[in-house]
C-alpha cells in the first residue's frame, strides 16, 4: 500500500510515456537517414538471382530497430551504396569500419578483432602453418552463425512490460533525459549481462554444421555434437527453454574469452584439452568441487552400438527393464479394470441350476 502511494499519479504518467515510446512507430527511432525503407519496407521486395538463390531484400523496420544494429545506418554496412537508385549491393563485409565511435578508445568501431580471434581458432580456414585446411569452405563465416542479433533484456525483473525493469529505468532517468538513449543503453547492458541467445538457440546454431553427417565425416569428427547434446540432461533442459543449463559455448569457450576463441582438443589453450577439462564442470556456477574424472565422462556419447558399445548395451538394458516392468503393469491394471467393468463376464458357459 505504501509503495503504491509513493509514486502517486506520476507513476502512471511515467508508464504511459514509456508505453507511448515503446509503441511509437519504429520509423521515428530507426537510423534510416537515406530513406532506404521507402523501398525496403516491402516484404515482397525480392528476386531469384542468377544462381537460382532467393534474395529477399526486405528489412523489417520494427525488428531492426530493436536489434543491436538498430542505430547503425544502412550505408554503415552497405558501404558500396552511395546513391539511389543503386546497383545490386555487394555482400556486406562485417569487418568494415563502422561510423559508430567506440567510447573508450574514441575510435571508429569495427569487428576486426573477431576476425583475428576466429583466424586463431578451430574454425579458422588455415592451419597453424598458414596452409589452407582441407574443406576450408566448410568453416563458418559471420552469417553462418549470426543473423542480426536481437536485444535480450533481462527478463527476471518483469514489472510493467516483460523483459524490462521499469524501476531500473526510473533510476536511469534521474540523470539521463533522452528516452531513446536510456532504452538502448539498458537493453545493451542487460543483454550483455547474460546469454545473448538461449541455450537452445545456441545449440541449434552449432548443430546446423555439427549435425550435418557429411560435414562430420569430411572433418573426421567423432560425433554429431548437437544431436548428442540433445540426449544429455543439459540438452533436454535446454529443449525445455531452461536458461541456466550449459550450452555449447559454456564448455567450449575459455572463461572470460570471446565466443570466437574456441580451440581444438589438442591445443593446450582449449577448455577441452585433457588437463583443462576438470575446470569446465567444477566452476562455481555448475558443479563446484567436481573432479577431473567427472568432466572426462563421454559428454557427446551417442546411442550407437558401434561408437559406444558399453553405453549402448547399458542403456538398452534399462530401456528393456523399464518397458518390461511398466507395460505388464499397465496390462494387469487394464485387465483389473475390465473385470470391474464386467464383474460377471466369463468365457465358460454357466451351469444351469
Amino acid at each position: 500500500m505504501r509503495l503504491k502511494s509513493r509514486f502517486g499519479p506520476f507513476g502512471y504518467i511515467g508508464i504511459f510515456v514509456l508505453l507511448t515510446i515503446y509503441f511509437m512507430p519504429a520509423s521515428v527511432l530507426a537510423a534510416d537517414v537515406g530513406n532506404c525503407l521507402l523501398c525496403h519496407k516491402y516484404p515482397g521486395l525480392s528476386r531469384v538471382d542468377e544462381n537460382g538463390e532467393m534474395r529477399l531484400l526486405f528489412v523489417n523496420e520494427d525488428i531492426f530497430s530493436k536489434s543491436v544494429h538498430g542505430k547503425v545506418k544502412c550505408e554503415g554496412c552497405h558501404v558500396d551504396i552511395t546513391k539511389i537508385p543503386h546497383e545490386p549491393a555487394k555482400p556486406v563485409d562485417c569487418l568494415v569500419l563502422c561510423h559508430i565511435i567506440e567510447p573508450t578508445s574514441e575510435q571508429k568501431f569495427t569487428h576486426k578483432s573477431v576476425a583475428t580471434s576466429l583466424d586463431d581458432s578451430v574454425h579458422s580456414k588455415k592451419d597453424k602453418d598458414g596452409k589452407e585446411k582441407p574443406f576450408s569452405e566448410d568453416m563458418p563465416t559471420c552469417k553462418d552463425c549470426h543473423d542480426n542479433p536481437m536485444f535480450r533484456p533481462l527478463a527476471f525483473v518483469k514489472k510493467v512490460r516483460p523483459g524490462v525493469a521499469e524501476d531500473a529505468l526510473g533510476r536511469c532517468r534521474v540523470c539521463h533525459t533522452q528516452e531513446e538513449f536510456i532504452n538502448r543503453f539498458y537493453n545493451h547492458i542487460t543483454t550483455r549481462l547474460h546469454k545473448s541467445r538461449s541455450p537452445l538457440n545456441i545449440a541449434e546454431s552449432c548443430a546446423r554444421c555439427h549435425d550435418d553427417p557429411k560435414l562430420v565425416a569430411r572433418h573426421n569428427l567423432s560425433t554429431s555434437a548437437g544431436g548428442s547434446y540433445g540426449q544429455t540432461f543439459h540438452g533436454k533442459a535446454a529443449n525445455l527453454l531452461d536458461e541456466s543449463v550449459p550450452d555449447c559455448l559454456d564448455c567450449h569457450v575459455p572463461k572470460g574469452k570471446s565466443v570466437h576463441q574456441m580451440y581444438e582438443n589438442k591445443d593446450p589453450r582449449a577448455t577441452t584439452y585433457k588437463e583443462n577439462r576438470g575446470q569446465i564442470c567444477n566452476s562455481v556456477d555448475c558443479h563446484p568441487g567436481a573432479s577431473t574424472d567427472f568432466a572426462n565422462y563421454k559428454v557427446h556419447a551417442e546411442f550407437n552400438m558401434k561408437q559406444n558399445p558399453v553405453i549402448y548395451w547399458f542403456t538398452t538394458f534399462f530401456i528393456i527393464l523399464t518397458g518390461g516392468t511398466l507395460l505388464p503393469l499397465m496390462a494387469i491394471l487394464f485387465l483389473d479394470l475390465l473385470r470391474r467393468l464386467f464383474p460377471n463376464a466369463s468365457f465358460r458357459r454357466r451351469k444351469e441350476k
Binding site: P43, V48, D62, G323
Partner: protein, 298 residues
C-alpha cells in the same frame, strides 16, 4: 445412477491406462526398434575423409526449395520471434505470408515471377506480392473495362475487405484483382473456369503432345497484353489506373504512393538508371551513355 457413474469412471481409467501404455511403448521398445532400423539404414557417420570431396554447386530441389522452408524460433525472453529461416539472410523477416492459393499463374511462374529485366525485377516482385498478375498484365477492352478492383485473400481466394488501413505497407495477406463485365454481369477476371483450365493443363502437361501444349498455353495466355501496365499509370496524381481510395488506401497512403518522392524516383530510374523500365523485356535501340562517359573524338 451410481452404477453408471462407476462404470464411466472405470472407462475413463481404462483410457488413461491405454494412453500411458502407448507413451511407455514409444519411449522404450519403439525407441529401440527405431534405433535398430536407423542403424540398418545409411545414416551412420562414415569417415570417408578426403576421398569424398564436397560436391560444390550441386543444387538439388531439396537444398534449394525444401531447406529454405526451415523455420527458426528466437527466444528473446520477453517474446518469441518465429520466422522462416533463409540461409545467409541477415535481417529478420518477422512475419509469415502464405502462398497465393488462388492464382493460376503461380504454379508455373512462381511467387517471384519477374526476372527478365535485371534492374527492376525486385520492384516488380514487390508489387506482385499484393497485386494479382492480371491487374498489370491484362489490358481490358472498353467493353470489358469496369474500373472495379477488389482485394482477395491469398489463402482462401475469397473477396475480402481492404486490409490496408493500419497494416504496415505491403504486408497484406491479400491481393488486388480486377473485375470485368461478362454478359452484363460484374465478375472477377480469374474465374473458376480459367482456374480449372490452367489446373487441368498443369495436371496433364506430361501426357500432352507439343501441339496440344502450345494450344493450351495460348488459350491460357490469350488475355495477356503484350505491354503491361506501367508504373507511372498508378504512381500519378492524374487519374491513376488503380482506384486507390476505393481499395481502402487512406488519403495519407494515397498521397505517399502518388507523392513526388515516389514518382520522382520512378522518373529517376527510368531516365538514368533503368532506360528499359517502361518497356520491360525490350532492349533499348541504342545504349544511353552519360555525356561524361561518351568516347572522346580525336
Amino acid at each position: 445412477m451410481k452404477c453408471f457413474l462407476t462404470k464411466l469412471y472405470i472407462l475413463a481409467f481404462m483410457g488413461l491406462v491405454i494412453f500411458f501404455s502407448t507413451l511407455i511403448w514409444k519411449l522404450t521398445f519403439a525407441h529401440l526398434i527405431h534405433e535398430y532400423h536407423a542403424r540398418k539404414g545409411d545414416v551412420s557417420i562414415q569417415h570417408t575423409g578426403e576421398a569424398e570431396k564436397k560436391d560444390q554447386g550441386k543444387q538439388t530441389f531439396d537444398t534449394m526449395i525444401l531447406e529454405s522452408e526451415d523455420r527458426v524460433k528466437h527466444y528473446l525472453g520477453y517474446r518469441v520471434l518465429e520466422e522462416q529461416r533463409i540461409e545467409g539472410h541477415f535481417h529478420h523477416i518477422g512475419f509469415d505470408i502464405g502462398p497465393d492459393n488462388r492464382s493460376y499463374c503461380r504454379p508455373c511462374h512462381g511467387d517471384m515471377p519477374h526476372d527478365k529485366v535485371k534492374d527492376i525485377r525486385a520492384f516488380l516482385n514487390m508489387h506482385a506480392f499484393f497485386i494479382a498478375c492480371q491487374t498489370c498484365h491484362v489490358k481490358l477492352g472498353e467493353d470489358e473495362k469496369t474500373n472495379v478492383y477488389k482485394w482477395y485473400d491469398r489463402k482462401t481466394g475469397d473477396i475480402v475487405a481492404s486490409p490496408v488501413n493500419g497494416a504496415p505497407p505491403g504486408t497484406y495477406n491479400a491481393k488486388i484483382i480486377p473485375f470485368i463485365r461478362e454478359n452484363g454481369q460484374l465478375v472477377r477476371i480469374d474465374s473458376e473456369d480459367k482456374i480449372q483450365f490452367a489446373t487441368d493443363y498443369k495436371t496433364n502437361e506430361k501426357v500432352l503432345s507439343e501441339g496440344q501444349k502450345s494450344k493450351a498455353k495460348k488459350l491460357i495466355h490469350k488475355i495477356i497484353s503484350k505491354t503491361p501496365v506501367t508504373c507511372e499509370s498508378c504512381h500519378t496524381k492524374n487519374n491513376p489506373t488503380l482506384p486507390l481510395a476505393e481499395l481502402g488506401y487512406p488519403q495519407t497512403r494515397v498521397d505517399s504512393i502518388t507523392s513526388t518522392e515516389v514518382v520522382g524516383m520512378i522518373k529517376n530510374y527510368t531516365e538514368f538508371h533503368m532506360p528499359k523500365m517502361l518497356s520491360p523485356g525490350e532492349k533499348p535501340a541504342t545504349p544511353q551513355l552519360q555525356p561524361e562517359l561518351l568516347p572522346i573524338q580525336h
